[in-house]
């Protein structure tokens, strides 16, 4: 046995020497290294290479970490954070700002001649709070409907027209939903990631998440309930969208990309509510031959939709703030916006690169002449409203409540009204809890109340 141990030790020592000899040489080319925490979307490489070419002083590299914003905050506060990191919603922005991880870049924007009204308005909550700016948006999107032309052609159904209604959509989706002898879905008429219901149904039915100041959750309004009810009807009454179990069945194991995209790409769905960014996956050779069309959402009671996107913020403790600011400048410019539009990583964040002299290139990508629907995504974005957030509640807590409670609606365990009453009650109680803990927010909250905003509580004794 001792020879075995000695042999193993000798082998490992030898391998260590070999590894040491093969270690990559430290490049001392005078470049400043920048680290960007973003998702591992394959298009990220080209975006980084372009920056490195345009700004040769810096060498940007990706630290893939989608959804690891908690870790980023801890790293930033500990002084070992990345120089740049992504932010996916207003909740995260507030966490970054209030933890001191995000740098205020308002002055840097002004110095570089960048203006807020040059970017799509629905992106503002991702990188700005009040009159302060903390980063720059990367891309933007608003939902529309993808459709699989082959499945429509096979069923002899005309493609949806831009002025269609939800009744039209249900009728088409019913014809295109196919089930086997066991009533298992083989093909769905319509698909959607469940968590996206507020962007479509809450918006189109006129509901709101919060009062304008964010002081009270009002998700349980009759409009909100009607929106959720309609989404539930698509699943349980019309049976054209996957139910809870069926969606789980379609979920992929993880990694970049989502279940509905791969299932839609595989021809298991005739239509899907999604974004232009789906093309990042659907252009892949795995989906070669897929003939796609896109049309704006069916008309609902209100002509509204919530838009979104992604932004990149600067670490307040970064040692290379100037380099990080160069990256923000890059994202505001022509090269980045054209690249995003070309890659179909949703749409570029700056409005002007979709119109005027840039319009022809945006609408007709010579490398992808079959993509004749780019105007659809721009139209969707033109009417997109800001996804509502409240500064008075932790977005993660809201997400957890929303996920946990709406599970019961999707599973038909609770009605839409019961579900949203529960969500609203819990979110409002969470607001009160936050105010109890945070005197700065409490003071700001009472200022809003003094200006006529509605409180999160109904009885005075529940006030924080």
């Amino acid at each position: 046995m001792k020879y075995l141990f000695l042999g193993s030790f000798a082998a490992m020592s030898l391998l260590s020497v070999v590894a040491w000899l093969w270690r990559p040489a430290v490049t001392d080319d005078g470049k400043i290294d920048l680290v960007w925490v973003s998702d591992d979307n394959p298009v990220r490489r080209e975006q980084i290479e372009l920056f490195n070419r345009l700004y040769p002083t810096y060498r940007l590299r990706l630290d893939p970490g989608q959804g690891t914003w908690e870790k980023v905050i801890v790293q930033c506060l500990a002084g070992v954070g990345p120089d740049l990191f992504d932010c996916y919603n207003g909740f995260q922005l507030m966490a970054y700002v209030r933890s001191g991880a995000a740098l205020d870049v308002t002055e840097a924007w002004a110095e570089r001649g960048m203006k807020l009204d040059e970017v799509w308005p629905c992106l503002t909550p991702l990188f700005a709070d009040g009159d302060r700016i903390y980063g720059h948006p990367d891309n933007t999107h608003a939902p529309a409907v993808w459709y699989n032309k082959a499945l429509f052609d096979a069923a002899g159904i005309p493609y949806p027209a831009p002025d269609w209604t939800w009744d039209d959509c249900i009728e088409i989706a019913r014809k295109l939903t196919v089930r086997d002898a066991r009533d298992r879905p083989v093909q769905f008429g319509l698909m959607m990631a469940r968590l996206e219901w507020p962007a479509v149904f809450l918006a189109q039915w006129g509901g709101r998440m919060y009062t304008p100041e964010g002081t009270r959750c009002i998700l349980d309004s009759p409009e909100g309930v009607a929106g959720l009810q309609f989404a539930m009807d698509l699943i349980h009454k019309y049976r054209v969208m996957p139910n809870w179990t069926e969606e789980l069945a379609m979920a992929t194991a993880g990694g970049w990309g989502m279940g509905p995209i791969s299932m839609f790409g595989a021809g298991r769905g005739a239509m899907a509510i999604g974004g232009r960014w789906w093309l990042c996956m659907l252009r892949n050779k795995d989906y070669k031959g897929l003939r796609l069309g896109a049309v704006t959402l069916p008309k609902g009671p209100y002509d509204r939709v919530f838009g979104g996107g992604r932004s990149t913020l600067v670490n307040a403790n970064s040692k290379h703030i100037e380099g990080a600011l160069c990256f923000l400048e890059y994202m505001h410019g022509e090269y980045w916006n054209q690249l995003i539009n070309h890659q179909a990583d949703a749409l570029g964040p700056v409005i002007k690169y979709h119109y005027g002299e840039y319009e022809a290139e945006f609408l007709h990508n010579p490398e992808h002449p079959e993509e004749d629907y780019n105007a659809t995504w721009r139209t969707a974005l033109e009417k997109a409203e800001i996804t509502e957030v409240s500064p008075y509640v932790n977005g993660q807590a809201v997400d957890r409540v929303m996920l946990q409670e709406t599970d019961k609606a999707w599973a038909n365990l609770k009605s839409a009204r019961e579900t949203l009453t529960d969500v609203t009650g819990k979110v409002n109680r969470e607001i009160v809890e936050v105010l109890r803990r945070d005197p700065v927010l409490r003071s700001r909250y009472y200022q809003d109340l003094a200006r006529g905003a509605r409180p999160a509580w109904d009885r005075e004794e529940d006030a924080p």
Partner: protein
């Protein structure tokens, strides 16, 4: 300096690196978390750090969701006796003089040295309610047996469970009887545990039982079951005692990986355990103080259960 003193100093020098590491990386954070549990610390610079003393604990016990997650944690431990019994059965079988026994031992131990996340993703695919092999098999079986109207379980998508526990609060709800996410996790846990470390401990325990006890039993005419009942089982009592204690500790702290990888704590929070609750509160909602209080309640729970085990379980350990 006398020899005794020199020996002591030498021993302390050898112990020091480990002791320092223990203080810095274990004891320090543990005491720090105890202190944090009495504060409102939430990582936000705008929130002044205040001592809130027992507020976090009071709030915790008033939260219905805490009790729901506590019950979830306990429910997931229901598979523990089956897992321990399975480990014992496998150990007894693998301690026989069989041809290729080493191969069998390796195969049974395979789940223990396979990547945990890979296993969880594999099981998630197996439990797929529509296309998963388990339900496809059950459906084929029901077809071949002619069972009319058979509905395969929805596994990870279902709030149902074998004790009819509700999904809103700690209560029994008639319509909740069935196989659901919690049961799916238990079944997977049993599969992982039967051939794992417990089986190795039992194998080691069995190999340490003096052969003359079996010889004496043979002379007395004892059969296989009698020998197991009156020789093997009592001789394995210290091993069983150790395994039970470790399983309780592991069970109370468990459920995090499954929730994180397979269910995100759902559906409707039914697979959220105390450890996953600590994670969401600390690292998603940044309520570090509150999360620390949950961690300390969990610690006290583990400590209490372990003490009870020592107090009452050790009665059955005679060797």
């Amino acid at each position: 300096m006398n020899t005794k003193r020199l020996t002591t100093i030498t021993a302390l020098c050898f112990l020091m690196p480990n002791f320092l590491g223990f203080c810095i990386f274990t004891l320090g954070p543990v005491l720090f978390s105890l202190g944090a549990s009495f504060t409102n610390w939430n990582l936000m610079k705008t929130v002044p750090l205040l001592w809130v003393w027992l507020d976090n604990y009071v709030k915790l016990f008033q939260q219905p969701e805490f009790w729901l997650y506590f019950v979830n944690t306990g429910y997931l431990m229901l598979g523990m006796p089956i897992a321990i019994a399975g480990s014992l059965l496998f150990a007894v079988l693998l301690s026989q003089k069989l041809r290729g026994v080493v191969v069998y031992r390796t195969l049974f131990y395979l789940p223990s040295f396979t990547s945990g996340v890979a296993l969880l993703i594999l099981w998630k695919a197996l439990y797929n309610p529509t296309y998963g092999p388990i339900n496809l098999f059950l459906e084929r079986l029901s077809d071949s047996l002619g069972v009319a109207g058979f509905q395969a379980p929805e596994w990870l998508a279902s709030t149902k469970n074998l004790l009819s526990l509700g999904y809103e609060r700690v209560e029994l709800v008639a319509g909740q009887f069935g196989l659901g996410a919690r049961d799916a996790i238990i079944i997977m846990g049993i599969w992982t545990a039967v051939g794992g470390g417990n089986m190795l401990l039992y194998l080691a325990g069995i190999s340490n039982i003096p052969s003359d006890l079996y010889e004496a039993a043979d002379i007395d005419g004892a059969g296989t079951w009698t020998k197991f009942r009156h020789v093997t089982w009592p001789q394995l009592a210290p091993t069983t005692f150790f395994i039970v204690i470790m399983s309780f500790i592991g069970g109370l702290q468990g459920g995090f990986e499954q929730a994180r990888v397979m269910t995100l704590g759902g559906p409707a929070g039914t697979t959220t355990t105390l450890s996953y609750y600590i994670y969401t509160k600390a690292f998603e909602e940044f309520q570090i103080g509150y999360a620390s209080s949950i961690a300390w309640v969990l610690f006290l729970l583990v400590f209490g259960v372990t003490m009870l085990n020592w107090r009452f379980g050790s009665r059955y350990v005679n060797y």
